[in-house]
């Protein structure tokens, strides 16, 4: 197939009125002014408990959550066994191996139950290094490491604080953020 060149004229066609900008500026001012007045009215109505649409579309983050899709990769946690005797992790180091950021540090040891054989005694994730690719979750044969905690407030004042140890990872699951229903989420977003 021969190469065809299609020229696209991207410069906008403007008439004289548009080129003076005066009308456009006024239209712009009108839009922003309208938003100001409408939003102010809504705020005032809401202030006096009169039902009206909210005056702002923003979400007040720490108090309000947007709701995450359940497939969103959020902070890691380590799952417990069903009967709650210890972590599911068997220290196989698959996650540590696959991790492209090399941010997982595992030290395994012998498990008292010979049928389990192996367990992790230290399991540390450097959250500051993690790239949230989710490979560790994919690689885990025991479904022990998961990334659906719904937590995104991963922060610390020091680099050491970004090292999440095993206790923290095991405790991380107890307060999951509310997930939006998948269908609803898609409806709202798109």
């Amino acid at each position: 197939m021969a190469i065809t060149v299609k020229k696209i004229d991207a410069s906008p066609k403007m008439n004289l009125l548009e080129r003076t900008y005066l009308r456009e500026i006024l239209r712009g001012l009108w839009i922003t002014n309208r938003h100001f007045v409408v939003n102010l009215t809504r705020h005032i109505l809401n202030l006096f408990r009169i039902k009206a649409k909210p005056g702002a579309v923003t979400i007040q983050y720490p108090e309000q959550h947007r709701g995450y899709h359940k497939r969103l990769r959020t902070a890691h946690y380590l799952a417990h066994r069903e009967n709650d005797d210890g972590p599911r992790c068997v220290g196989c180091m698959m996650c540590e191996t696959i991790c492209p950021a090399k941010c997982i540090y595992i030290v395994p040891t012998e498990h008292p139950d010979p049928n389990v054989e192996k367990q992790a005694v230290k399991f540390t994730i450097d959250m500051g290094r993690c790239v949230y690719c989710g490979f560790c979750v994919e690689a885990c044969p025991e479904d022990a490491i998961r990334m659906d905690s719904g937590r995104l407030d991963i922060c610390s004042y020091s680099r050491e604080g970004m090292l999440w140890d095993m206790d923290r990872l095991l405790a991380n699951h107890h307060d999951p953020a509310p997930y939006k229903d998948e269908e609803k989420w898609l409806d709202e977003e798109f």
Partner: protein
């Protein structure tokens, strides 16, 4: 004599306090107004004992932040100039307020009192002169920073401010031809006339083009969007590059003060100053007949309030523009000032002069 001095000091103190407080509130207004225009809420996190008060405490926290921040002073040969520059700009911007007539004269206990610090015959020229002096703060700040980028930024700022200063003054000439005075109080009083007994002959009515030009040039003079090239901190680096802490704050605060100044000047020249339509010294008059009789004190207060409302409305418009339009490119800025604003202002002068001559006003 002593009482006069004391009155002047009191008036000056009142004006100064009022302007500075109003400037502080404007930082909050700017945040909230832009937030509402953009469907946001705006700064609302600062609180005292859980009370947030619509984010008003952010004015305070801004101040605390500015004072508490590390002050970095670059290695420069002009340390004194560097330290002084923000306050030069600040001082002259404030000084221009001395001639603004916030209210008419009021006779209290035999003394003529007015909320105007000084009322020289060349009041408007004083205001322009002070505004012109404020440029020095910018120039010196950029030059004393010992930083090429800051110097370039200040050169840009100077070019812009001088260019628009010309247009600003030229735009004001039209009304002055009609008013035939530079005395600020006189200018306001002249605008108290009515045409046909119903239309207040404000500057905006007589000189609508000059009003627009003056407002645009004034916005450019205050270095606000869409004319904020001198600042453009993150993108093209402005004259205040090397400033930090409260010295940076002083530059920023000067902007707000200048905004008030431009609003006050526009109000005085074009919006009838403290004039309230159809309000004479003794009350509202419609068609020459007294409709509602009011005491002199009430009239004075109404007129003071009218000035404040006009200034607020102008500031609202200026901020509306600031949060609606994108920034000009530098060449656009210059050609707009020299090739559009200034010729229009000259045209306005010529036409006005001709009309004034022909009609022998």
């Amino acid at each position: 004599m002593w009482i006069e001095l004391l009155t002047k000091v009191l008036i000056a103190g009142a004006v100064l306090t009022g302007i500075l407080s109003f400037g502080g509130v404007l930082t909050w207004v700017e945040r909230k107004q832009s937030a509402l225009m953009q469907d946001r809420i705006g700064a609302n996190r600062a609180s005292i004992l859980g009370f947030r008060l619509l984010g008003l405490f952010h004015i305070m926290t801004d101040g605390i932040k500015m004072f508490a921040k590390e002050e970095f002073i670059p290695r420069t040969d002009h340390r004194v100039l560097f330290l002084l520059a923000p306050f030069i700009a600040w001082l002259f911007s404030l000084a221009a307020f001395a001639v603004i007539p916030f209210s008419p004269e009021l006779t209290v206990a035999g003394y003529q009192v007015t909320l105007q610090v000084a009322n020289p015959e060349i009041g408007l020229l004083v205001a322009f002169a002070m505004m012109g002096m404020a440029i020095y703060g910018v120039v010196l700040g950029g030059w004393a920073s010992n930083n090429n980028y800051a110097l370039l930024g200040s050169m840009r700022a100077t070019a812009q401010m001088i260019s628009y200063e010309v247009a600003l003054a030229a735009a004001a000439v039209g009304p002055l031809l009609i008013y035939r005075t530079l005395n600020m109080q006189e200018i306001v009083i002249r605008q108290g006339q009515l045409y046909n007994g119903w239309l207040p002959l404000w500057g905006i009515v007589l000189q609508p083009l000059a009003f627009l030009l003056f407002l645009v040039a004034g916005a450019a003079e205050t270095k606000r969007v869409p004319f904020d090239l001198p600042e453009g901190e993150s993108e093209i680096i402005g004259f205040n590059l090397e400033y930090s802490s409260m010295r940076f704050g002083a530059f920023m605060f000067t902007d707000f003060i200048e905004k008030i100044l431009v609003a006050c000047l526009t109000t005085t020249i074009f919006l009838g100053g403290w004039q309230v339509p159809w309000l004479a010294d003794d009350g509202f008059r419609l068609g020459g007949a007294l409709a509602l009789e009011l005491g002199p004190m009430v009239v004075w207060l109404l007129r003071l309030a009218a000035f404040g409302i006009k200034v607020c409305a102008l500031i609202y418009v200026l901020m509306l523009v600031r949060w609606t339009l994108p920034r000009f490119r530098y060449d656009q800025l210059m050609s707009f000032g020299w090739k559009f604003l200034l010729p229009l202002a000259f045209l306005n002068i010529i036409v006005t002069a001709a009309v004034v001559l022909v009609l022998n006003l």
